[in-house]
Each structure stands twice: as C-alpha cells, then as structure tokens.
Amino acid sequence: MQPVIEINNLTKTYGDTCAVDDVSLAVYPGEIFGIVGPNGAGKTTTVELAIGLRKPDAGSIRVLGLDPQQDAFALGERIGVQLQQAALPDRMRVWEALDLFASFYRRSVAWQPLLDQWGLGDKRKATFASLSGGQQQRLFIALALVNDPELVVLDELTTGLDPHARRNTWNLVRAIRDQGKTVVLVTHFMDEAEKLCDRVAIFDQGRVVALDAPGQLIKSLNQGSRVRFTAPSGLDMSWLQEAPGVSRVDLEKGDVVVHGNGALMAQVAAALAQRQLMPPDLRSEQANLEDVFLAVTGRQMEENHAYAA
C-alpha cells in the first residue's frame, strides 16, 4: 500500500539543538497515526516539516506523493490542518471564517453540517474572540475539514478541553477516519494516543524511540499486571511479597503497587482479607503507553515535562 506520508532520515536543527534527529516513519491510508511524546520531543516540528511550514536540513518527505516544499499549493488543496498555535482575527464571525476558508480551495464541502457536527451550529454568528477555548479548537477542526481533505493533521487537539469534551472529540476523530480519511494526531497525552490511535510513533529528544500499534507496544513490555491500593497508615506491607503470583511490591505516592502475574487481583485480595485488610480502592491496572515510554527511555513522562520546561 502506498503510504500517505513517507519520511526518511529527516533532520532539522535550530542552532545547537537538534529538534528532529534522523526520523523515519510511514503513515498509511485510513489510519489514525499518533505522534506522541513529551513537550519538546520534536513532534510538532516533524509535522510542520511534513506539511511544508518548515524546510528540512536533511532527509526526504513525501506527502500524498508530493514534495511539501515544491508542491505546496497542490498539497494544500488535499490536506486539512489544525495547528497548535493559530488564530483568526478577533472580530471574524464563525460563518465568515468557514465561508472564507472554503473559498481558498478548488473543492469544498457545505460548511453548515460541519458546524452542526462540531457543536457550533448555534455559534454561527459569534465572533472568534467570543468563543471559548474549546469552541475555537472545534472551529479550527471544522476549518481543517472544509476542503474534504484526504489527510487531516491535528496538533494537540484536546489540550484545554474538559474530560467530557475530550471524549466527544475522540469520537469525532474516529468519525473522520471512518469517512476514509487518514488522520495524524500529535499529542502529549499518552492515554489519548492509546485510546484513539491505530499506530503510534513515540518521540523523545527528536528521535522515534518506538513505533507500532499501542496494544503491540504494551504487549511487548511483557509486564504482567499490577494491583494498586492506598497504603494503610503505619502498616508494613512488605509481607505481600510472599503472596502467590507477586513479583514485587512498591510504595508509590502513598499507594501500594503490587506487580505480578496470573490472577494477581484475586491473589492479592485473598492475602489482604486473610489479615482482615479490605482497602476500598483496591484496583487492577494494566500496563499503558507511559510504561512503554519508561521502558524505552528510562524516564517517566512527568520527569521529562520538567526537563522540557
């Protein structure tokens, strides 16, 4: 299958910093492809190179078979982009923005259904400045779809949205894919990437450190499962180590975290009950993409935030 995006040995340097360092990846038609990693990992730069906003220092990029630098106009017709840092004039109204952007393209879709679909139907006449952050975000997504693009690029789509709005947005992104479009999703939320993406490239310090389906990446960790509960005050819990199936017991921010295999939850619950302990928040946890990040980089995502700031 011909890839929608094909990047080979891409490099981009700013002064002494190598923002993108020998990145290669391919995005295939009809998938939601995640570019994930901490802030400053080179995600946005990679995407901006791919859509022709920046010029690469080395390496090759083909998007929909086009060179983003040389065929910028032809590519612009066929992609839709929601940028992390973008704005519209304060006094431009929602309908005016869609009407204006539709006029930029040779082919465009009716924008009223787009407004309804993205929950802006009653905001038609509102000015850009009067919209909330989430509404502005959704307007930019609607603008990214107005030319019925083959490839949709969404950069930090749900930043600033409340949990309910985030889940709604995820469903709408799935709906974009189900229309047959390819979606590239840039995000620093690992849970978002895990739930939404068919495949992810994990970025760290300008490099791709892992690339596969989220489920595959997690499975390859071979981490078994975890059980977590609030540590009972004043009690030493290290005896849990002796319970069947348990490999390790950690204390993490006031939680006891029990690592192990097999029917770990049942084993831990039984061991606790034997000592008359019934922690009300006893819960089972699966390995996730954050664990993958930890495994491949040796660092926690949060540590990396502080590092990037």
């Binding site: 840092q85 973008a86 704005a87 519209l88 952007f101 930029f104 930019f140």
Partner: protein
C-alpha cells in the same frame, strides 16, 4: 480572484468593526475640520495668499488620513496577524500569500478614499472649501501617496517583531509627520528651520503634492520624486524582509 474579492470584503468588514481604526480614518479628520474650522473660519486671508485657513489645512488633513491608514492601521493589522498566528493558519491552505497583502492594500485604499471623500465634501459644504481643481490628477496623487506611505508601513511590519512595537514606531513616525507636515497647522506657520526639517518627512510631500493639485498649481515634481523613491525602496525592503511567522 474570487478569493481576493472575498478576502478584501472580509477585511473591510473587520476594519469597520474595529472602532479605533475606523475612528482615525473616518471620524477624527472631520472632528479636526470642525474644531479648527470653528476657531479660524475660512475667510480669505492675505497671510495664505488670499485663501482661507481651511483651504490650506484641508489637504493637510488628507495627508493625515493617508498617514494614519498607511503608517498605522495596515502595518499594525499585518503585524498582529503574524504575531497571533493568523498568517500561519492561512499558510497551510492553497491561498496565495499575496492575496493577504493584496486585500490589505485594497482595504487601505478604500478606507482612505472614503475618509478623504467625507472630509472633502464636509469641507466644501460647511466651510466653502473649493473642490479640487484637477480631480483626475488629484486621484492619481492620492494613489501615489497611499502606495508610497503604505510601502513605508510594510517596511515597519517587515522589520518589527510585534504588533506593539509596530504601533509604537508607527506613532513615533506618524505624529511628527502630522504636526510638521501640515496636518496640525499650516506649514506656512512653522519657523523656517522647522519647515526645512519637515521637508525630510514623507507626509510633508503628500501634503505639498495634494495642496498644489487642489489649488490648480500643478504637480510638484520634487514631491513626486520623493514619493516614488520611497515607494520603490519600501517595496524592495519589505519584499526581502517580510516574514509570515
């Protein structure tokens, strides 16, 4: 072309919704006309060679309108569009970037022409200021002046990093040009030394050019030359230095 028209119409609407820009281009010149007209009237005055105060200052107000839209409104708008990422958003569409600039130029000319029209009509009916002697030449002078001052404005938008600095530098250029170039008081009232200084300011030449054509005295070739040179230099610099982000 359809895009350019749509963009231009959009920018006209945005301009009119922005009260400050519309005020300085359309209302403020009328205010000045009525304030100074009430103070000085427009009786023939030997000091102005038999013309009235308002006959002499009205071209100065026209220069002021050209200065305020070209040196302040347009460059501040462009700077703001760049600073906030509006140009960036346009760049990921097939839109020709020149349409953004083109729309700014057309809006600038339209608003400036509207401001000049309002002022000229008011001056004529309220203070009996004669209509321009050579209307076609007057329109050509208006176009040359607007393009020239606008190219200076584009230089500001190209070289300065933020809308704020563009605004401050634009004002620092505009106000001396306004007061020394005949927008505040007739240039004839300035001391000879300041009249010399004012000849180095572009807006003075807009005023000289328009005053001359208004009074039927023909083209001031020196002023035409100054404005053409400024236009060429301004376009060259901004074409090389303008950044979309």
């Amino acid at each position: 072309m359809r895009t350019l028209l749509k963009m231009t119409w959009m920018e006209i609407k945005l301009f009119l919704r922005e009260p400050i820009g519309a005020f300085f281009a359309l209302v403020f010149p009328l205010m000045l006309l009525f304030i100074f007209g009430s103070i000085y009237g427009n009786e023939p005055n030997p000091y102005f060679g038999g013309r009235g105060s308002m006959d002499v200052t009205t071209p100065g107000y026209i220069a002021m309108i050209i200065g305020t839209t070209g040196c302040l409104s347009s460059p501040i708008t462009l700077s703001l569009y760049r600073e906030r990422g509006i140009l960036r958003r346009y760049r990921v569409t097939p839109l020709n970037p020149l349409a953004v600039i083109g729309a700014q130029v057309v809006v600038n000319l339209a608003i400036t022409a509207l401001g000049i029209g309002l002022l000229t009509v008011a001056a004529h009916f309220v203070y009996n200021v004669a209509m321009p002697e050579a209307p076609v030449a007057f329109v050509l002078a208006f176009l040359l002046s607007s393009f020239s001052v606008l190219s200076l404005g584009f230089v500001l938008a190209s070289l300065l990093p933020t809308a704020r600095t563009t605004q401050i530098v634009g004002m620092a250029l505009f106000y001396p040009m306004l007061f020394l170039g005949g927008g505040g008081m007739p240039r004839q009232m300035l001391p000879a030394s300041m009249q010399r200084v004012s000849e180095f300011l572009p807006l003075t030449h807009v005023n000289i050019l328009i005053s001359g054509l208004w009074a039927g005295e023909g083209w001031s070739l020196v002023s035409v030359l100054v404005l053409v040179v400024m236009l060429v230099v301004g376009l060259t610099i901004s074409a090389r230095m303008f950044r979309w982000e």
